[in-house]
Symmetry: C2
Subunit: 188 residues, 2 copies
DNA sequence: TTTGGCATGTAATCCGTTACATGATTAG
DNA sequence: CTAATCATGTAACGGATTACATGCCAAA
């Protein structure tokens, strides 16, 4: 039995909520797990084909309007495969962070350089944090009582905690690397 | 001027501390930025070759003992390239986290499954946290007064905050997803 | 009628790891 | 002698993104 990529399981996961087309999947993934898991068409279509061959999903023609359109339905075998994968220990996602690399080497350049980078980072986290709050509200509003709601919320919660950590770090770094500006001071 | 990969700049960064061989680079990267940035030989050697052609580094033969060995020295042009890169805004590293994906779909499987996954995650963070503490001590011990020390420490600090965030999340998730075990209770 | 969204798919490319091939030197 | 470490490199493969090619339908 051929080893399957994680994309395959992501697709199976989304298909548990009902039949979808490749196009649907792309958009749904973008709008739900988009903050921690994305897929592109270049992955989705070939893998749907493979999953069909392995009979983990069933392809069917379901023209909406007169438009050609294929829908994929998860099979019992597909559900079993998904369940099996969920039990396998998740391997830690390797970190590869460009900002950290820059900070690591930045003793060679002027203070201002990293100052700007860190401010950017901080601002991005603040904005993201706002987005996560919004998502939380929207989930509670639109899906109150949904059996999967708690799980979904947990992933959002992770985003928040992760953002807060980055935010705290950026602020700490700004203090440690960039001495209070000399150019102008507000008081006294 | 051909676009350079980030690996190229990582290499240039390490070469600012003195000439090194490909072999040296691999090991030094592993032991210093290894927790947030790694490189493999498959990247290092071809890129060293390219950097030599572009004259960002200079290759020289420096047999230690009778062993064949090539050392690379960063050039003035190389330093400028590095400095330029450090100023470019760091692009946020995309998140792709298998555990989150599993949590997202795990309403379909028994509570125990995610419980195990989350415990694993928690334990890994605790262990990592210990490692980071150790690295901090060792840096202070071995490199006290080094001009780059503050920058290095900041990257370790990031690791700590990131770990703590994951740890807090895992514990929260364990509470929310896994009700207190029914199997046995310790007291009363 | 033309633009934008629906829809499917492939090809090129990038970036990276792993495995392989080779060999010299040194410490036990 | 022999195992570990030093040392350089290439080839194969994997996973993913981006760009490209194509075309239909609905609404403005």
């Amino acid at each position: 039995m051929a080893k399957r990529s994680r994309t395959a399981y992501a697709i199976l996961g989304f298909l548990t909520s009902g039949p979808r087309s490749g196009y649907d999947l792309k958009h749904e993934i973008e709008g739900s797990t988009g903050n921690f898991w994305q897929e592109s068409y270049g992955q989705i279509y070939p893998i749907l084909k493979k999953l069909t061959e392995e009979q983990l999903v069933k392809k069917s023609t379901a023209s909406s309007g007169g438009r050609k359109r294929f829908e994929y339905t998860i099979t019992a075998k597909g559900r079993r495969a998904l369940a099996g994968w969920l039990e396998e220990p998740a391997e830690p996602s390797p970190v590869r962070d460009e900002l950290l690399l820059k900070v690591f080497f930045s003793a060679h350049v002027g203070d201002g350089v990293m100052h700007r980078q860190l401010e950017d980072c901080r601002d991005r986290q603040l904005e993201l944090l706002g987005r996560y709050r919004g998502i939380e509200e929207q989930l509670l509003r639109d899906h109150g009582g949904h059996p999967e709601l708690d799980h979904w919320l947990l992933t959002v919660r992770f985003g928040e905690l992760y953002c807060q950590a980055r935010l705290a770090w950026a602020e700490e770094a700004l203090v440690k690397l960039a001495p209070p500006t000399k150019k102008r001071r507000k008081k006294s």
